[in-house]
C-alpha cells in the first residue's frame, strides 16, 4: 500500500475525526457527541470492510474468475467493488444504456448485491510496480 492509504485506511472518517477534534477545542461540552461520532465511524468502517471483503472473496475464488485471470496472464490487478445499483460510466462494468450515461450512486441500495471488476492497469512501464500504478 502506498500514498495516503499506507498511513490512513479511511481518509474520510479520519477527516471527520480531525474536524471533530477541532470543534471539541472550541466546544468542550461536545465530548460525548464526539466520542459517539468516533464509535459510529469505527463501526461503519468495520461493516463496510466486512461487506466489501466478503464480495471480493466470493468473486476471487470462483473457478470461472480464476480461469479468466489465468488467461489474462500474470501481473498486478486493480479490483473495484461497487454496489449492483451504482452506474459508474468511468468503469467498464456493463454496456451503457440509452440515456444512462451519467454517474448514479443512489443513497439507498441493496447492500447484499455487488459488482466486482477485475482489471489490469495500462502503463508505459513493462512491469509496473507500486508507484508506477498509483
Amino acid at each position: 500500500m502506498t500514498g495516503l492509504y499506507a498511513y490512513v485506511r479511511h481518509p474520510q472518517y479520519t477527516g471527520l475525526a480531525v474536524v471533530g477534534l477541532g470543534s471539541l477545542l472550541l466546544w468542550p461540552r461536545a465530548l460525548v457527541t464526539y466520542v459517539a461520532m468516533l464509535l459510529a465511524c469505527t463501526t461503519l468502517a468495520w461493516v463496510d470492510e466486512d461487506e466489501l471483503q466478503a464480495a471480493y472473496r466470493a468473486a476471487r475464488f470462483d473457478r470461472r474468475v480464476q480461469k479468466a485471470l489465468d488467461q489474462a496472464g500474470p501481473g498486478r490487478l486493480i479490483v473495484y467493488v461497487v454496489s449492483q445499483k451504482w452506474v459508474l460510466p468511468d468503469l467498464p462494468l456493463e454496456p451503457v444504456q440509452e440515456g444512462d450515461g451519467g454517474r448514479r450512486e443512489p443513497a439507498t441500495f441493496d447492500r447484499r448485491h455487488y459488482k466486482v471488476l477485475f482489471a489490469r492497469p495500462r502503463t508505459h512501464a513493462a512491469s509496473p510496480e507500486g508507484r508506477s500504478i498509483v
Binding site: A58, A68, P92, H113, K115, V116, L117, P121, R122, H124
Partner: protein
C-alpha cells in the same frame, strides 16, 4: 498517478455478498471504449 493511464478490464462478477455466492460472471462490455474516458486513478 504516475505512469498508469488506463485500465484493461478482465472480468466483471456479480455477487450476493450475504450468501457469499457468485450470481453472474461476465466479460466486460465490448461496446464500451475504455480509455476514451479520462479517469484519474487514485
Amino acid at each position: 498517478m504516475k505512469t498508469a493511464y488506463g485500465l484493461d478490464p478482465i472480468v466483471v462478477v456479480k455477487i450476493d455478498a450475504l450468501a457469499g455466492t457468485v450470481r453472474e460472471v461476465d466479460r466486460p462490455p465490448a461496446d464500451l471504449a475504455w480509455g476514451d474516458i479520462p479517469t484519474p486513478l487514485f
